[in-house]
Structure formats: C-alpha cells, structure tokens
Amino acid sequence: MSPSAHVPRSMSARTVSPCSVTLRQTGETYVCAAGETLLQGMLKLGRRGIPVGCVNGGCGVCKVKVMRGRCLKVGAVSRQHVTAEEEARGVTLACRAAPQTDVEVEVIGKMQRGFVNLIVGSGPAAG
C-alpha cells in the first residue's frame, strides 16, 4: 500500500495534497508528497524518467516542461539552462518545482552524451 494513502486529503485548505506526476514521454506516473519537488518525489520512490544531477537548480539536466497542472518554484533556477521566456512557457527544473496539482510534464533535459561518457559510461548510449 502506498504511504500516501494514509494522508488525509481534507486536512486543511492550506495544505497541498499529494499530487500525481505523469511523464509524457514514458507514461510513467508517481506521487509527490506535499511540498516535494518533482525530482525528490521520483528519487524517493526509486523511479526513473527525469535525468538527475545536482538536485540544486544549477546543472540543468532535469529540465522539464509542465504541460498540465501547476508547480510552485521552490528555489533558484539557473538562467543558463532556463531562460525567462522559457520559464513563462512553463519550462523549469524538476528539482526546483513542487507540484500544486496533479501534473503532466515533458522531459526536456537529456544527459549530454559527452565524449568521455561514450567511452566510460556504464549504460548504452540513450537516444
């Protein structure tokens, strides 16, 4: 049984309830606890789909676009990776975005397949 099943959904109007997250490309879904970022929720459940890097808004690998629903920005997002125009269109970093409603997101960030990584990376090169 999912631990989130025990969270009373009607606790308070001010408390954000757990929100379900759907990744558009893979159809993967998971639940973020109240206040958790998209990336924290995924990591906590041992799920995959969004690339994970610094988890602190600086490296840009977790870049996503929120297609449906609403997220709260919970920290600085590097302008090197998300421009103001992109942000206005719902693009953000999954490690800095806490869902406020059920959301559907498109994963934009990709692990750059750097030359070193092609040689030493443990997995097959992803498309």
Binding site: C54, N56, V61, A76, Q112, G114, S122
Partner: protein, 314 residues
C-alpha cells in the same frame, strides 16, 4: 620562479546565504570579507593567504575564474610575454581589482576558461600560526578542510571536428606556464586522443585537471583532507547537512586520491580529496590510462564512472 600553486577560485552562486552556510558548515571555511557588490570571500584554516574562495551572486552556477599564485612579481611580466608570444591575449588588472590582491594577469585558456595569475595577496597566517603551532586548531566546523587543492575544468572536445581543448590546455600549461603532466587518459586509434589531463606545479599529483566535454564548464573545486578517516567523517557531515552526494567515499586510480563528490546549494560540484598520493616530479614518467581502463582510473573500486559524474557540471 613561476607558478607556485592554486590561489583561489571565483564561483557563481544563486542564493548567497545558503551558499555561505554550505562552505562554512560543510567544508569548514571561514568568511573573511564581504565586498560592496555582495561577493563573499572565504578561507580554509591551513591556508596562510587571505582567501581561497570567492562566492559571487548570480542567476546561475559555474566558474568565473580560477587564479594561481606566482613566486615573484616579475614572473607576471615574463609570463605575460610568453602568453602573448604563444598567441593568447592578456590583460594586466591593476592592484586591488580584487580586495587584498596585487596586480593580476588575466587571460583565457585554449578551452575558454578565464585564468588569472597574481603574486601578492595579504598574508594572514594559518589558524594555528607559525610559532610552536598545534597540528590543528580548535573549533573547526564540518569537514575542516585544510586548503583549496585543485579544480577540474570541462573542456570542449569534438574529435570529429578536430577540436581537443584538453590537449590544447595541456600543451599551454606545460609550454607556457611551466606545469608538468602527471597522468592522462587517452582513447581512439593508438591512444591518439587525450581526453583527460592532470597537471601539477607543486609536488602533488595535480593542481589542475582537464576533461573533455561538449561545452566549457566547471566540473569541481576540490578541498584537501588528510586521510581516509577524514573523508568518512566528511561524508557524515554531508549526511547531517542533507548535502546531495554525487559519488560516495571511494578512491581514484588516477592520483590515488580518496574522494567524495557532492554539490553545493547552487549545483556546483565540490570534492573532498585526501592523500598526497605520490611525489610528483618533472622527471616522473607520465601515467597513462587507456580506453579499457578509464573507469578504473576514475573510480578504482567500482571500475565505472557513474553517468552523472561524466555528464553533469556547471
């Protein structure tokens, strides 16, 4: 004569208050100065110059510049000549461009990274002083790092287009700045492509390192600890402080160093690095890591580089 050691790194942070807390409580540095633009200057206890880290407020993460210290003031003129002759532009920044620092020679490495050389920085002494000193001071916080040890820069590399700024940087550091190559990683036919280079100007295995990447960036700044026990304690400090650890305690084949990689609150990668490794000397044969063993070179026990380690940087 020439370059002695790393002097400081200037890095961008997106939230100054949490950045300062991280470098104080996790690394164990002390704030020594804040300038009117909000830049914060920090020092490790075993360093004698005024500071080794500048945190500058920004809307992004990454490196502003890295600075190395030369022995004599006249070295700056000699090296300026040499760099210009090599074909790179230079600029001599006047005294006090940075607080407590004399004139600085500014230029870009072939990879594009800004480097500066200086000779004067206010000397304030280590936290144990120079007269009958204790081996360590009381009141150390966090990992209690001794000093800023080295940095690793991500350098544009695209063999298909004939671009290899790892090799270009390596040549520049050797021929112009008098560094020596201690270790390298090579790939391709006959090991013809140098994808990583580790260079020294002290007697440690490295004072700077270059690794190939799609774009220019900062891979990490590294702080020195004495021993494996200190590395494990640093890991505890990180766990206590909920720091995002990238690579848990392990050993590098390259340099023999013991290590933890982790991220500061803006996503800049840090390393705590222990062990002096071996005596690095100009006549020591260069260690080469071949294509089939690069994973062991990077992380000796696991034998594979993790994906985030090779692809995530600021």
């Amino acid at each position: 004569m020439g370059v002695m050691r790393i002097g400081h790194a200037s890095i961008k942070v997106m939230d100054m208050a949490v950045a300062v807390k991280h470098y104080e409580n996790v690394i164990g540095m002390k704030v020594v100065h804040t300038d009117p633009n909000g830049n914060v200057y920090l020092k490790c206890w075993d360093e004698w110059d005024k500071y080794s880290l500048i945190l500058s407020p920004s809307d992004r993460a990454g490196l502003n510049h890295v600075a190395y210290k030369v022995e004599h003031d006249a070295d700056l003129d000699v090296l300026q000549q040499r760099i210009e002759t090599y074909g790179s532009k230079t600029e001599m920044l006047p005294v006090a461009t940075l607080p407590f620092v004399g004139r600085m020679l500014k230029f870009n490495l072939p990879s594009g990274h800004e480097m500066r050389l200086f000779q004067q920085k206010e000397v304030v002494g280590t936290d144990v002083g120079s007269t009958n000193p204790d081996p360590w001071p009381d009141g150390l916080k966090g990992a209690g790092a001794h000093w800023l040890d080295h940095c690793l820069l991500m350098c544009p590399l695209d063999p298909e287009k004939g671009i290899n700024t790892v090799a270009d940087n390596c040549k520049f550091m050797k021929e112009v700045l008098g560094f020596h190559l201690s270790e390298q990683a090579v790939v391709g036919p006959g090991g013809s492509i140098q994808i990583a280079a580790f260079l020294f100007c002290t007697t440690k295995p490295h004072d700077i390192a270059f690794v190939g990447a799609p774009t220019m960036g900062l891979h990490h700044v590294s702080f020195f600890l004495d021993s494996w026990a200190d590395i494990l304690k640093a890991g505890d400090v990180m766990a206590k402080n909920r720091v995002k650890i990238d690579v848990a305690p392990t050993r590098h084949g390259i340099t023999r160093g013991e290590t933890i990689y982790f991220f500061d609150p803006s996503g800049n990668r840090n390393e705590t690095f222990a062990g002096l490794g071996y005596l690095a000397q100009p006549d020591r044969p260069v260690t080469t890591w071949t294509e089939d063993s690069i994973g062991r070179g990077i992380f000796y026990h696991h034998g594979e580089a993790t994906e985030s380690f090779t692809t995530v940087y600021t």
